[in-house]
């Protein structure tokens, strides 16, 4: 555990990507099995200990430290694991467990035993060790290392290709013995063609002012649902979300509808006429949202909000891996299998017939009226490759909507923004502010600003606080934000009756007096569902 704790600390304080990779690669090469496998799982978010949650740690601490002092500390530090590691009564002679020992112990803990057993583990560690253990135990590391970076480091450590790791990744489980055997000891690679595993998605770069030749690029609509992969291998079918989570149980009608071996890439949508009108055939994202995250789906909901897959691409068919083929050929094969599929559950993502880029631009601008997110541009000769590869696929979103709102409340952030007031709630006027109208909260955002702006905002909040509610500060409602967002929907959860999608602080309008900020009706006029 000392070596893992030292690795986490070093990663926290290292800025350069190359140095982070070197630290990780050294660790993966030099650490023994299965410790390095468990550590890799922790770094890629692959560990889950149901009995140990952030709240478990919090409760454990509250038994030892005054709850108010714990809360004040947590609020200041911005990270429960770090706060707990600092507050835990220290030991003079640590006897740290190995990573595997810790993982085994954590895995054995139950809701009843966790209070005693987790405390016993913490008692064996110093402050860095406690931090590492709690990060390992509760999942989210939040130390600026993505799962991808850990995999790149693995590739670098053993001189193997990261694409191959991605390919095997979803067929193996921590501590990844087969992966280390292959990469470090030259054993044959882990097999995954006999299981319905998730294959890494091909992703798109945002298009920025480059004009593309439509002879080389095909265009299709970017629908506003969730990107999914439907896999049928060895008689089993799975539906995966973009992050590779198995969501088959939430959408049984889709998982049941693919009757032959294939891997499809598409947009999961609910039937309706919101996106692209009657011919678009898809309801708004809001309609899909009520279907997400369910363990069982009531029959009524299945009937009211039936899901379907709008297919973009084909990765495998009847046992053949067609990913190396150019997009055009994959598209041909995809079109050829469409009549083998139930048209109630599958349709083909339509191509946009424009031949001139300017025409496409106009279509994109009109996309908002049709509630479509934007346009995708795919190189006609592009193979299907994992991740975001320059020059192959582009997403061209419609421009965001903008509204001027007034800052109402602020809260400290976590991670990089810890101890800064950086989570902002803002509102619009419910009438004429000159006649006593009030501000109603319309959204919350914690990004869109630069680090410099963050410092300024933090100091603004401190200087303009008029009230405190626990960790929340109410400000004097003097600061205007230009807020950018993708769309706005009706919502019963908010007093204003509105909910924005993907709001972010676009600009800080110190030049604009608060009473000139937008009114609620400006936002209501933008609601399309």
């Amino acid at each position: 555990m000392e070596r893992f704790a030292a690795l986490l600390d070093a990663l926290v304080y290292t800025r350069r990507r190359t140095e982070k990779l070197a630290l990780l690669a050294d660790y993966l090469r030099e650490t023994a099995d299965p410790d390095r496998g468990w550590s890799l799982a922790a770094l890629t978010g692959g560990l889950d200990f149901p009995a140990v949650k952030s709240s478990t740690v919090r409760n454990l601490l509250m038994e030892r430290v005054d709850p108010v002092l714990f809360q004040l500390s947590r609020d200041y530090v911005g990270d429960t694991a770090e706060t707990a590691s600092l507050l835990w009564p220290g030991t003079d002679n640590p006897s740290p467990p190995s990573v595997s020992e810790a993982v085994e112990a954590l895995g054995r803990m139950t809701r009843n035993s966790v209070r005693h057993d987790l405390a016993a583990l913490l008692d064996r560690l110093d402050v860095s060790g406690r931090f590492a253990l709690l990060k390992l135990a509760t999942g989210a590391l939040r130390i600026g290392i993505s799962a991808r970076l850990a995999k790149v480091a693995f590739a670098q450590a053993f001189g193997v290709s990261v694409d191959e790791i991605e390919e095997y990744w979803h067929g193996i489980e921590p501590p990844y013995a087969a992966l280390f055997d292959w990469a470090a000891r030259g054993a044959p690679p882990p097999r995954c063609d006999d299981q319905p595993v998730f294959r890494p998605f091909m992703l798109a770069h945002p298009l920025e002012e480059t004009e593309l030749d439509l002879k080389e690029f095909a265009a299709e609509w970017k629908w506003d649902g969730i990107r999914v992969q439907l896999v049928h291998v060895a008689g089993a079918t799975r539906l995966y979300s973009r992050s590779g989570d198995d969501i088959s149980v939430s959408f049984p009608e889709i998982a049941e509808a693919l009757p032959f071996p294939a891997v499809l890439d598409g947009e999961l949508l609910v039937r309706g006429s919101h996106q692209g009108g009657e011919s678009g055939g898809a309801a708004s994202f809001n309609a899909l949202q009520q279907r997400l995250g369910r363990k069982t789906v009531p029959r009524k909901l299945l009937a009211e909000a039936p899901a379907f897959l709008r297919v973009y691409d084909l990765l495998m068919i009847d046992g053949d891996d067609v990913r190396p083929l150019p997009w055009v050929e994959r598209r041909n094969r995809l079109e050829a299998i469409m009549d083998r599929l139930d048209s109630g559950r599958f349709d083909l993502s339509e191509l946009i017939g424009a031949t001139r880029f300017e025409d496409l631009d106009q279509l994109r601008a009109a996309g908002r009226d049709n509630a479509i997110e934007g346009i995708m541009l795919k190189r006609r000769d592009s193979p299907y490759v994992a991740g975001r590869r320059t020059g192959l696929w582009y997403k061209w979103k419609r421009d965001p909507l903008l509204v001027d709102c007034v800052l109402m409340y602020a809260q400290r952030g976590s991670g990089k923004r810890s101890s800064f007031y950086s989570d902002f709630t803002f509102g619009c006027w419910d009438g004429d502010p000159g006649e006593g109208a009030e501000l109603l909260p319309v959204g919350k955002a914690y990004f869109g600003f630069t680090d410099e702006e963050l410092k300024w905002l933090d100091s603004h909040v401190r200087r303009h606080t008029v009230n405190r509610f626990g960790p929340v500060r109410e400000t004097d409602r003097s600061l205007v934000f230009e807020v950018a967002f993708d769309s706005v929907h009706r919502s019963k959860r908010h007093k204003s009756g509105l909910a924005m999608r993907f709001p972010r602080i676009n600009r800080i309008r110190t030049d604009k007096p608060a009473h000139e900020a937008d009114r609620l009706e400006a936002l209501q006029a933008l609601v399309v569902d």
Binding site: L69, G78, E82, T83, F420
Partner: protein
């Protein structure tokens, strides 16, 4: 008569009514008593400034003294107007730093300014002074702030420097106090190599030496070739850490010496690669132990995380209240 009637917190500082004088005022006043030379406590432009000779020397260097300066030695009795007696006692914060004890109508009020309890080779240690009302800072007034032994942090600094003979280690440290303390601690640990200074630290280091704190072989960065600083320790004010200025150093490792470095994200926010938890403020254990040792009838808590210390006082049945003073926020220590 209780102290609440003769000494009170105004937004710009503590006002001692019978003597018509201020302690650490943030605006120019007729008579100011100054605890120490940091910019948030000491400002220029007062009619008369009372402080220790060292603090006056620091102020003179930093702001110039246009008004009258009245040096007060540690332990010396000063009678102010309105039958208020003032004495200055070492606070252990930086060279010349003082706690100011005010006595009036049979009551003793102690204003600590900023203080710490652990040894510092550059200044006199904090003197525990009995009082009725103890006015304390609370910069690190949360139990997550426990500074490790200074020696361990100095060792880490030296080891990092030794492990990178081709790079400089650039340490961000307050120009007054912290920088000189780091140098003196390094010397005490046996580090005799030259230490290189950012221009903004040179005059203060020279003043410390004039006031009797030897700092060894110091050299200005400005006169030094880049490769001569490889494998060396370089000091600069925190603001210069991420500045273009640091490009003149050989591939510097960014370090910062501050109590805030206890919090990982605080270090990350400043792009610090080597956080050194060295502070000139009392940590949580020192704050609470000091209150118990001084054992006043009442604590008044000024700048910092006063909520935390107030809570501790409540839990320990100690009378306490928070004073809202503006402008004391120590983001760099």
């Amino acid at each position: 008569m209780t102290a609440k009637h003769w000494i009170r917190a105004e937004p710009q500082g503590l006002y001692v009514e019978p003597a018509d004088c201020w302690i650490d005022p943030s605006r120019p006043v007729d008579t100011a008593l100054v605890t120490h030379g940091h910019a948030d406590h000491a400002r220029g432009g007062h009619g008369c400034t009372m402080a220790t000779p060292e603090t006056l020397a620091v102020m003179d260097l930093r702001y110039g003294t246009d008004g009258r300066a009245r040096p007060v030695a540690y332990g010396e009795d000063v009678m102010l107007a309105g039958k208020v007696r003032a004495t200055f006692h070492p606070a252990g914060h930086v060279l010349g730093s003082a706690q100011i004890l005010l006595e009036h109508a049979g009551e003793r009020v102690l204003v600590t300014g900023d203080y710490k309890r652990r040894p510092d080779p550059t200044c006199r240690p904090f003197a525990v002074t009995p009082c009725d009302i103890f006015i304390t800072e609370a910069t690190f007034g949360l139990p997550v702030f426990r500074h490790p032994p200074t020696g361990l942090e100095i060792d880490r600094l030296r080891e990092t420097s030794k492990a990178h003979p081709d790079r400089a280690v650039l340490v961000g440290a307050y120009a007054l106090g912290k920088a000189q303390r780091i140098i003196a601690e390094l010397r005490q640990s046996g580090h005799d190599a030259p230490i290189f200074l950012h221009g903004a630290l040179e005059r203060m280091c020279r003043l410390y030496e004039e006031l009797g704190v030897p700092l060894g072989d110091l050299r200005p960065v400005a006169d030094t070739a880049k490769d001569e600083m490889a494998g060396r320790i370089v000091l600069c004010p925190p603001s210069a850490l991420n500045d273009r200025w640091s490009r003149r150093l050989p591939d510097p490792i960014t370090a910062m010496a501050s109590g805030w470095m206890r919090i990982r994200q605080r270090a990350r926010q400043r792009n610090v690669e080597l956080p050194l938890i060295i502070s000139d403020h009392a940590d949580w254990d020192e704050l609470t132990a000091t209150i118990e040792e001084v054992d006043p009838a009442e604590c008044w808590i000024t700048h910092g995380r006063e909520d935390g210390l107030l809570r501790w006082c409540a839990l320990h049945q100690r009378r306490a209240r928070a004073l809202a003073l503006v402008g004391f926020e120590d983001e760099d220590d």
